[in-house]
Symmetry: C2
Subunit: 364 residues, 2 copies
């Protein structure tokens, strides 16, 4: 990015702006602050596609009455270490943290907590949730299903979302190991970047609408599909399909949400699913108290040793060597806390549109 | 395979042979039967690399006193829904089922159970364990770390095993969805098949000892590495690395076992790890009672609908269309229960060696 194409904003300014936006749409104060925290954390960690860049879409959905600003998030069914939660069609940015909190509380009581959530909406970055759990020495998991983009291996039809998985482990002196990835070979965001640059796509990212390999962004946009992680049968694409299926079942089949091709899209006008098989999309949260397995400091010390040994891995040619999961996001966060968060012009235009729509001040 | 290269055996005959073998090495009767069940299930399900073909290696390890035939499998630490188990250096085929049973019992009591296991050995196919949980309407998970073969992305050194993950979900009228895969792009078994056929390897399977892409089996055997699922940075290889790391941490760091490059190899003479950072290898089992989330029959009916819709996916050209996870193994099992299990000549020779070593009869 060169300086002409973006402008930097402080996390504090963005947080206030997002907070005010949600409050303008009748989201209660605490929930608005929570939602702002999820989005700003994404921007700080360098995951630009899931942060403030999405605020306009949330606002569109709220303006159209498609999201409930004041949900009654409630437990439908539970046992000591499990629960199913109905998000009452609230913002995923609000429902997600509440359901995650239920998992954490169960972990504190009985060692672990597992919560499947229906009737919810997109919850931001999956990595946000295990980061919350880390603060209590809990290993946190998060998954969500999303609107369809991916074909199962041997398929030529959008059947699954990019269904991410996140999990994190705390170190003692070393930073935590934070894993957060989509189960497709690449996210839609990466395709958008190539499109903006006017470039063809690398091999093994997408299929055209007939199910043939393609390098053309247009083939994806006119009905093609993202490939699962592993891409082809020969290089393990069936494994990425299995993982996306696992996430779909734990988040949506198990909770009573819409699964697979019936998951509603993030932007309401992309497509309308052919039918409904449940309520909203689904999330799944897990929380495991470390002290249910091992002395907490002993575990953290072992993670430190793991991190140190992996950093010492012999590097492949023409690379900077092995990273620890979570390193790229941590580096981004350090830099952005210092220098501000770069926002590209089209997103700034979207945010000014939001300010007008919400009748709030734009950042001075 | 043509008829000259293999011979078929009934599951019952193989089971008796394996059972007698383990008993000859002082494994108690119930444990020997359990171990035989894990191996025969693998062969029945078509996963030839993990079944009776491994019996010779188990026998070698037992002959050398490297595995304890009569382990005292015990809980080191627990909370209501979690535990850490010490396998007392027993067969993974015995320790695994016992630890899995502890997870299942916790799920019956409080909704879920999560068990991390140290001081154990290779446990057969990961898919065996969730199949046990299914019998009680429990969603089961299993993972294990294994001896090093895989390089992290940007690495040129063996740091992780092929660390598999398995999970299964029951249907009502449809067969269960059974997910079981290694987190490398391909298993070592697939490389061995190409080697036997005298063929080069496809792109994106391995690196040579210097960390360069290679298609030569010899490059793998002389110090090269398997690539993680996703293979390259461009097609998501960092995600396969993250998954293998997750399995390594949950199974080995959390339990007190040897993690990463320190995990002992399956065959004792392949390599000796540079140091020990714990006891044996590690497993991780999870069990979640469906009724902790949803009415059991409602869930199973939803799985049936999921399976039916995914079977109807528009097929990609030159494919037979989309399979449900677990289909290939189920088809193999139906065929092999009927026609017997095909065992290739080199494995038959190994089994005859085992018969002699154990002083038991070979199958008539």
């Amino acid at each position: 990015m060169n300086e002409d194409t973006f402008q930097r904003f402080s996390a504090a300014d963005l947080r206030t702006f997002i907070d005010n936006t949600f409050k303008a749409f009748e989201v209660p104060q605490a929930d608005a602050a929570q939602a702002a925290d999820v989005l700003v954390t994404s921007d700080l960690r360098g995951i630009d596609s899931h942060g403030v860049a999405r605020l306009r879409k949330y606002v569109e959905l709220m303006s159209e009455g498609l999201i409930n600003p004041r949900p009654n998030v409630r437990i439908l069914r539970e046992r000591m270490s499990t629960a199913t939660v109905d998000g009452d069609n609230g913002l995923g940015l609000v429902v997600g943290p509440k359901a995650n909190q239920i998992a954490i509380e169960k972990a504190e009581k009985v060692g672990s907590g597992w919560v499947s959530v229906c009737n919810t909406n997109h919850f931001g970055i999956a990595g946000y949730y295990p980061l919350q759990a880390l603060q209590k020495d809990i290993i946190g998991w998060a998954m969500t299903n999303t609107g369809k983009w991916m074909a199962p291996i041997f398929g030529a039809e959008r059947m699954l979302g990019t269904n991410p998985i996140a999990i994190a482990f705390p170190g003692l002196k070393e930073p935590p190991v934070v894993i957060d990835f989509a189960t497709s070979a690449v996210s839609f965001g990466k395709v958008q970047i190539k499109r903006r640059e006017g470039k063809d796509l690398p091999d093994n990212w997408i299929l055209d609408p007939d199910g043939n390999p393609s390098n053309k962004v247009d083939d994806l946009l006119t009905g093609g599909t993202l490939l699962p992680l592993g891409s082809t049968r020969e290089t393990g694409g069936h494994k990425g399909y299995c993982m996306a299926a696992m996430v779909d079942i734990l988040t949506a089949v198990l909770s009573g949400a819409n699964w697979g091709p019936f998951a509603p899209p993030f932007a309401s006008r992309v497509f309308i699913p052919e039918k409904s098989v449940g309520k909203g999309i689904g999330h799944f949260f897990g929380a495991m108290s470390i002290d249910g397995f091992m002395d907490v400091d002993e575990f953290k010390t072992r993670i430190d040793e793991w991190v140190q040994r992996f950093r010492e891995t012999k590097a492949a040619p023409d690379t900077q060597g092995v990273l620890i999961p979570g390193d790229p996001e941590r580096f981004a966060e350090a830099e952005r806390k210092e220098s501000g968060i770069p926002i590209i012009r089209p997103v700034i235009e979207d945010l000014k549109w939001v300010a007008e729509k919400a009748k709030i001040d734009w950042i001075q």
